[in-house]
């Protein structure tokens, strides 16, 4: 399985990965419309740039082999996709207990804006092109897909 790899030494902290991620998961899929017209139902970025001083890197779900979020999910909303091996979230089954948020060792599961369910969970952009858009749009190849 190909994974998004992080190259902290070349992350320039521009946050373009976050912007691309939001656009890709937005209702319109158009950047200006997403940010100017879809404020209410604009999704949260599923990748987050962590920064301190000159250290920065873009972090998203690592799709752990023994994923605590899957193990701890009460409703089975968090599950491993058999075909891709990725950890995904079935939002219809999520009841917003935040077990995943608490147990994720990387802190990459986030609550949705209305705090009713998981709102930020990298889905690997399966079926959205060969390379995930966050990787494709990283200006410095600080994210690679290998």
């Amino acid at each position: 399985m190909k994974k998004i790899r992080i190259h902290e030494e070349y992350c320039i902290g521009c946050h373009l990965c976050e912007i691309t991620c939001v656009v890709k998961h937005s209702p319109s899929g158009k950047i200006i419309k997403t940010f100017r017209e879809e404020k209410e139902n604009r999704p949260l970025p599923r990748v987050r740039v962590e920064e301190e001083g000159y250290v920065s890197f873009a972090l998203q779900c690592r799709h752990c082999d023994d994923a605590p979020c899957v193990e701890n999910c009460l409703t089975g909303a968090m599950y491993r996709d058999e075909k891709t091996g990725m950890v995904l979230c079935d939002e219809d089954r999520c009841m917003g207990c935040w077990m995943c948020v608490m147990s994720c060792p990387f802190g990459v599961a986030e609550r949705s804006k209305d705090r009713t369910r998981v709102g930020s969970k990298c889905d690997g952009c399966v079926g959205k092109g060969e390379v995930p858009p966050c990787v494709e749009n990283c200006p410095n190849e600080a994210l690679t897909y290998e």
Partner: protein, 504 residues
């Protein structure tokens, strides 16, 4: 504090219909031009600090930004051009020498643009590089006038002087680690290895990380002698004595202490935070015979296994100086013209001292031929080479190869804002700030340089094939392949070329 009279050089236009307040611009500007206002989710740009590097424009995901040269609205005056006013106000405010970066930008004649190339028609078939080999392999170093050969056994008796073998007649110019970032230097060195050419350490020593790439590095010995050790000389492919630089002939160098990080301190062998000052002259070279002593000291140290280059700036008497350097034992003469780049130089020097590389090259090549010593040294020309056609024209004028500095930096992302000396290069090239240096991913930098060299090599082969020439040595010094347009007869004569319209 009195109000500054310096008006902003650039105008920033933000298309509010497009701006999504994502703050990429604010995060990327090292000059703090753009600031985000949380209260109304908007961005404000302070134009006075803008250097026109186009970093924000390039990264803006919606194309909302435009940075343009500002029309400053001074009354038109042919004598008092805007740049003079700007510089004068600056000096009146600071009382200092105005610094700048990169090469001279004054509109002196660019002779490359007045030289046209030949092509074959009918009487001489042009050669298709897709079907026939066209060779641009180049050797730098002292050549013999003739060879002693045992023809019966097909074996060579002459021992050739050490040669630098290049896959194309282009090398990366001297740019020190210090003036450029670690990642920029790594990009150059790795690209040189992949392409089969050489880069140049500049006068800042060689970081031990790059010793493994020494086979593709020319190291410099300059007036400051930074980082010069026996090991430094031995790991390199060749050694260059830097006498002068086209951007600042007769002027030394100064790397401010802020840039002397622990790694640079280790490389240059000077204390962290101390200014690295290269004196204007070498204080052990006050005459040509002193140069000879240094050349041979280096040759002795390296057991005569490495060519020694002498780099000089193109000044009025360049032909005689080059001839002297060749007679003093230089295997390569590097000549840097007035448009040669720099990380920092006084603007008054950069823009007024020296002569164009093209004229210097033509004169040096002719002089060495007249003296019958052209074979004793290769000529490498530097200073404003912009394209493969410039390379071809340089070779036809008589150069063995060219150095590219600015062109290589452009490939790495440089946008020629001329602010290298500030240490705030937004493209991560001319800076040591760790936030900025990580902006240049050496894998990308190397790839772009390799691409550039590949593209130039392909173009050079097309041009050569069109001329009906299948080996670059048949173009070297072949001024019959050049014709001058828009030049006075005297200028054409100095270049040793005929005017367009004149046949063979």
């Amino acid at each position: 504090m009195a109000k500054s009279l310096l008006l902003p050089e650039f105008k920033i236009e933000r298309d509010s219909a497009r701006c999504i307040a994502c703050q990429v611009c604010a995060r990327q500007c090292a000059n703090a031009v753009h600031t985000y206002d949380e209260t109304d989710d908007s961005l404000w740009s302070e134009e006075a600090q803008c250097v026109g590097c186009q970093r924000c424009v390039t990264l803006c995901p919606t194309g909302a930004l435009e940075v343009r040269r500002r029309e400053r609205g001074f009354r038109e005056n042919a004598n008092w051009e805007e740049s003079f006013l700007y510089r004068l106000y600056k000096q009146a405010e600071t009382g200092g020498i105005v610094l700048t970066g990169m090469g001279c930008d004054r509109p002196y004649p660019i002779y490359w643009d007045h030289l046209l190339l030949n092509a074959s028609q009918v009487t001489n078939p042009s050669i298709d590089p897709l079907r026939e080999p066209i060779e641009i392999r180049t050797f730098l170093g002292r050549k013999e006038a003739w060879l002693d050969v045992d023809w019966e056994h097909r074996s060579l008796k002459t021992v050739l002087a050490p040669q630098l073998e290049l896959s194309l007649p282009v090398l990366f110019s001297a740019m020190s680690y210090g003036s450029i970032s670690y990642n920029a230097f790594r990009s150059l060195a790795e690209a040189a290895r992949e392409v089969g050419t050489l880069c140049n350490s500049g006068e800042g020593g060689l970081h031990p990380d790059f010793y493994a790439l020494g086979g593709n590095i020319i190291v410099q010995v300059a007036s400051g002698r930074f980082g010069v050790t026996p090991e430094y000389l031995q790991v390199a492919r060749a050694i260059e004595i830097k006498i002068g630089q086209g951007a600042k002939p007769g002027i030394g160098g100064h790397l401010p202490g802020e840039k002397v990080t622990p790694e640079i301190s280790r490389t240059r062998r000077i204390p962290v935070g101390s200014d690295a000052i290269s004196p204007a002259p070498h204080h052990d070279i006050y005459s040509i015979e002193d140069l000879e002593r240094l050349i041979f000291a280096i040759k002795e140290t390296t057991n005569y296994q490495k060519p020694v280059s002498v780099k000089i700036a193109a000044v009025h008497n360049v032909a005689a100086i080059a001839s002297g350097a060749v007679r003093a034992g230089a295997d390569i003469i590097a000549i840097d013209g007035i448009r040669g780049g720099t990380g920092a130089a006084p603007q008054v020097i950069r823009d007024n001292v020296g002569i164009p590389a093209e004229i210097a090259l033509a004169q040096v090549d002719e002089r060495l031929r007249q003296e019958g010593i052209r074979h004793r040294a290769s000529i490498v020309i530097a200073g404003g080479i912009r394209s493969s056609s410039d390379v071809i024209k340089a070779v036809a004028l008589g150069a063995d190869a060219v150095y590219i500095g600015t062109a290589a930096l452009l490939a790495l992302g440089c946008h020629l804002c001329q602010k290298c000396y500030t240490g705030r290069c937004n493209w991560g090239i001319a800076t040591q700030d760790p936030i900025l240096t990580k902006r240049l991913n050496p894998q990308i930098g190397k790839r772009r340089l390799v691409n550039l060299m590949r593209a130039w090599a392909l173009e050079m082969k097309e041009i050569l094939g069109g001329m009906g020439i299948n080996a670059i040595e048949s173009l070297r010094g072949n001024r019959e392949q050049l014709r001058a347009v828009g030049l006075r007869r005297e200028e054409a004569q100095l270049l040793g070329v005929k005017l367009a319209g004149e046949g063979w």
